[in-house]
């Protein structure tokens, strides 16, 4: 497997008034293609900063970041946007769906800013099908449960066939069982499509779904080791989907 993400001596300094905040103080790590990695750490540890830089939302103050052979530190705003569009899919804790827009339109959003060809509609529907949401593509977010909204968000992250999915506390707003279903989807995407998945979390249970846990503390990497006793979200995506439907039927 090739090295997808290579980070060397990354530092990030924020200036808050007169005070300089060192969010990252020299982080080096390598993530290979197809890995499922969890970045853990308490709030204020610098894990969000690290995620933002890896996700090309932010630039490091110093150090080198190589993503898929491209030196990210040299890119301008537009090139960063293009990388985010083409190579990275984001999943957020708060789903971040456009409220007045159907699931289908939400999933089509990244394709508005650059797509890989083919019909937007069909590709969005395929992405929704991959997360078991094809039946509800015309629903708006407020007509969907939290778990369903997060699935739509995952479909949106998938639609441009990214190399990496970055999930920032993806189960943070969900109950345990729904969270488990969502983790199952990530594991399936990682296993079957070979998409590199980076989870950012402070929950140990969530991190245990990855193959490798990178711990960040005080702006440096405090630990980087394979997961012992990895949790495999038992159900396949299909099963999860049926289960979700069954739950909905009970609910309605």
């Amino acid at each position: 497997m090739t090295d997808l993400i290579v980070v060397k001596n990354l530092t990030k300094v924020y200036r808050m008034g007169d005070v300089e905040v060192h969010a990252l103080r020299g982080v080096s790590l390598t993530i290979r293609e197809g890995e499922m990695v969890a970045i853990m750490g308490p709030s204020g540890s610098g894990k969000s900063t690290l995620m933002n830089i890896i996700g090309c939302l932010d630039q490091p103050s110093d150090g080198a970041y190589n993503l898929d052979g491209v030196s990210v530190a040299d890119l301008n705003d537009n090139q960063l946007a293009e990388i985010r569009n083409q190579k990275i899919g984001f999943v957020f804790q708060q789903y971040m769906l456009l409220q007045r827009t159907t699931a289908l339109r939400n999933v089509e959003l990244p394709m508005l800013y650059g797509g890989k060809g083919g019909s937007r509609h069909e590709r969005a529907m395929a992405a929704l099908a991959a997360v078991g949401m094809d039946e509800r593509m015309h629903h708006k977010p407020n007509e969907l449960s939290g778990g369903q909204q997060q699935r739509v968000a995952i479909a949106r992250a998938l639609v441009n066939e990214p190399r990496i999915i970055m999930a920032d506390e993806p189960t943070g707003a969900l109950d345990t069982r729904t969270g488990e279903e969502i983790m199952g989807i990530f594991q399936k995407l990682n296993r079957e499509q070979g998409i590199t998945v980076i989870l950012v979390t402070h929950e140990h249970d969530v991190a245990q779904h990855a193959e490798r846990i990178i711990s960040v503390r005080d702006g440096i990497i405090a630990g980087d080791e394979p997961v012992q006793g990895r949790i495999l979200a038992g159900a396949t995506v299909a099963a999860v989907a049926t289960e979700a439907e069954a739950m909905d039927e009970v609910a309605s």
Binding site: N52, G55, L57, D58, D77, N78, A81, E82, R84, N85, Q86, F90, F92, M96, L98, R100, L109, P110, L112, Y113, G114, R156, N160
Partner: protein, 421 residues
């Protein structure tokens, strides 16, 4: 990002906040409405004035025997005669003119055998009936020969015909007396009174007149009422061409001064040029337009600021959406364009409603114009030009006032935008 998609989003955003959008657009609506209405009514009024002056006769002006009261020379007395009219028409004297009409205006006791009525009596040369908006209801006008022969023929106005004979029908061929002299009615005039003729002291309603050949009136009716200095009420002079009117006035002045043997003295006649008055009337249009234009301009400015304000609110409310769009690959340009198009759509929608308002104003204007002109052809109509103008103004406002909020949105840092609560 596809432009069409931006327009779709903008349209959706506008419909989502219908009331807010409408209130935001109000300034644009009023501004565009005022501008469109102004152009429509101004154009209609201008056409009305043109029509009114055309009804007085295109390229004509008047000469009256009249002395400026402020003149220092108290010995100067008014002078104007039929002989002057003849001189003016002599070849080579005033080449810029092609017609001089003599009018002698008096009142007379008119009767058809029974009751006697007081009507206006106009002695005119036949050229009178070729100037302005003349219309014959029945019969014919009199001829030059009849004028030269002092023939006892009359053309009567509509009201005269109704008073004497109960209608136009059957009037022709009847006999009437004017101040005891017998005349044969040969025609009935149905000319309408011009709205602005009063501006020239011509308050007489053409329907209330008895028209006689000038020489008949002078020699047979008012012989004791004319002098060798003044035997006409006015001369109506027509220039060979509308553009020659100033030249014609100059030539007529020169000829008359020569004939009246004036050297250093002021004129003992007065020339009135309706075209000058027309210009004054048109100036009213300009003033009116400036007034509505100012209202429109201020409304558009206020409307533009309203648009800017609401777009800033919209950017603030949708900070997270902007962050998300950036996270999934929107470039600055995409965000800029999206918000710019939103402002544009707001303004264009406001402009469209404003054009509708302009139509309403123009209907109102048409009603008013019709009320004063009684002419269905005089209407305030919204022109294609004003629609294009209104649309471009709206679009410019959208772009101008939408630019700042859009730049602000485009410059948002995606991380902070995503965190925004």
């Amino acid at each position: 990002m596809a432009l069409l998609e931006s327009f779709r989003i903008a349209w959706g955003a506008m419909l989502t906040h219908k009331l807010r959008s409408l209130l935001t657009m109000l300034g644009i609506i009023i501004g565009v409405g005022a501008v469109v209405g102004m152009l429509a009514i101004g154009e209609g009024y201008s056409r009305y004035i043109d029509a009114e002056f055309n009804s007085l006769g295109v390229g004509t002006f008047y000469v009256n025997p009249s002395v400026d009261r402020d003149a220092d020379d108290e010995t100067l007395r008014p002078q104007l005669t039929a002989a002057n009219a003849a001189t003016l028409m002599e070849p080579g004297r005033a080449p810029a003119i092609d017609l001089v009409v003599i009018e002698l205006n008096r009142n007379g006791v008119v009767s058809a055998g029974g009751e006697r009525f007081l009507f206006g009596v106009k002695g005119v040369t036949p050229g009178f009936f070729t100037i302005g908006a003349q219309e014959l209801g029945d019969g014919r006008y009199f001829t030059d020969e009849e004028d030269l022969a002092s023939a006892r023929v009359a053309v009567i106005g509509q009201n005269v015909a109704e008073t004497l004979f109960g209608g136009i029908e059957g009037s022709v061929g009847q006999r009437i007396t004017v101040n005891g002299v017998q005349f044969e009615v040969i025609g009935v005039s149905v000319a309408q009174q011009s709205q602005i003729s009063g501006a020239f002291g011509r308050f007489s309603d053409p329907g209330e007149q008895v028209y006689l050949p000038y020489r008949t009136a002078r020699d047979r009716l008012f012989r004791n009422d004319v002098t060798t200095r003044v035997d006409v009420s006015s001369l109506t002079v027509r220039a060979r061409d509308v553009d020659l009117i100033d030249e014609a006035i100059r030539q007529v002045t020169e000829v008359l001064r020569e004939e009246h043997r004036l050297t250093y003295q002021a004129n003992d006649f007065r020339i009135t040029n309706p075209a000058q008055l027309s210009a004054q009337f048109q100036a009213i249009t300009v003033g009116f337009s400036a007034f509505l234009g100012t209202i429109g301009g201020i409304s558009l400015l206020v409307g533009g600021i309203g648009i800017m304000n609401i777009m800033l609110v919209s950017v603030a409310q949708r900070t997270r959406e902007i962050g998300l769009r950036k996270a999934v690959g929107a470039k600055r340009r995409d965000i800029l364009l999206q918000f710019l198009i939103e402002a544009l759509v707001l303004c264009l929608a406001g402009g469209a409603i404003g054009i509708g308002l302009g139509y309403l104003l123009s209907f109102g204007g048409t009603f008013v114009l019709y009320t004063i002109s009684q002419d269905p052809n005089i209407r305030a109509s919204v022109s294609l030009f004003s629609i294009i103008l209104a649309t471009s103004i709206s679009a410019s406002i959208g772009i101008f006032f939408g630019l700042f909020p859009a730049i602000r949105a485009a410059r948002l840092d995606p991380i902070r935008a995503l965190r925004n609560e």
